[in-house]
């Protein structure tokens, strides 16, 4: 299954803005803070929050495809 949201790990700087914006969808790894998508992310219910996270990512590292 392809997730409707992806993170460009090369671009990500670990700012955490996505976690602030959509905490049920995104998480950060503890090593360098880069973003992760939670395995239990309720993507269907959080489309608007994901859209906000895409807009607020300071480096444009998040792509939402749905």
């Amino acid at each position: 299954m392809t997730l409707p949201v992806t993170i460009d790990a090369d671009r990500c700087i670990g700012s955490g803005m996505c976690v602030t914006t959509a905490p049920t969808v995104f998480d950060q790894n503890d090593e360098d803070g880069r973003a992760l998508i939670r395995s239990d992310a309720p993507l269907d219910r959080e489309r608007e929050a994901v859209r906000q996270a895409v807009a607020r990512c300071p480096v444009g590292a998040i792509q939402a495809t749905a």
Binding site: G14, T20, D32
Partner: protein, 406 residues
Amino acid sequence: MVTGHETGTTVVLPTVRIAPLDPPPELGQLRETRPVTRLQYPDGHRGWLVTNYQVARAILADRRFAVHPIRPAVGNPAKAIENTGSDATAQAGNLLVSDPPVHTYLRRAVAGQFTIRRVAERSEFVSETVATLLDQMLTGGEPADLVESFSLPLPSLVLCELLGVPPSDRRRFEEPTDIRLNPNSTIEELAAARINFLDYVRGVIEHKRASPADDVLSDLARNETLTGNELAGMAMSLFIAGHETTAIMLASSVYALLTTPGRWDALRGDPSLVNSAVEELLRFLTVVPTIFATRTATADVDIADVHIAASESVTISLCAANRDPDRFPDPDRLDLERDAAGHLAFGQGIHTCIGQHLARLELQLGLRGLLERLPNLRLAVPAAKVPMHAPERNAYGVLRLPVEWS
């Protein structure tokens, strides 16, 4: 007076404020008429000045713009460069003056310490520090300088805990900041302060290598990908960035809330507004150092109807962009209920403030503490008598804030 006067279509960066909390008025005029305009730099070259929010945001996030070469938009260029360190040794490890690929591994070496989760773990310590400082301030009696008693020691003590140095070390990193922010400091004094500071930082790192603990500097000292100079430079920049801007932001926030009619009472009446108020205050005040928003094009870039040639500098006025009415309606109004998310007070792009969540935590808990413990807080002098930092220096805001509370 050096202020935004025009020579043809080229301007000098305006720095003189008429109202203490508003950006220089010429910046607003430029944003309306020429949102991207020619800028004359103190070293003689001509670049660009951006005052429009969307263009500012786009350039900060555009990887075709680099921080090198460093060409400050205001002030004596030799002095400005001495502030960040003129030689490669001093610049090593400083995220703000690094470009990829170096910036990438430097940031990854430390970003894990500033995640949402790690910062949240500090909230108890921040709350306790707020309570202790307010106890001391109340015991000391009125009037008090809120900067000396609260807004400076709060981030400094949090930083001591975070980096793992004793609270008594505060002066070791506050003093070089005082010297840097003092417009009367000579180039020699700036250089001497920086060398003393570097000696201190190297000593701390040696100590962390010998007896590591659970703190940011011990973690960095274990990192084998960083050179000794990078480690020292990164530690220096964490010490500086971790106290100066938050201290100025917290005191300036209180000043703005107390001098804008109804704002302090509104927050006191509904403390649940504190988090949105902090975002709005970040937007409204934008205290960040001007020198960190200058970039150099590494390729020709066409943007907003102008052609920026490779090697030209672009200065992004963050305070002007954060007052852009196309993005923030009625921008000069301090509106505590506004959704100010998206402001550029912490920057944008790869240099976005690494400590932004920690700064937010300190500002939110600091304001909450003041509202709860000193609900009748007010200025002890007329608003016009409150001294501000010299406008051309790094960070802008309240220098001292005499207050009463009974």
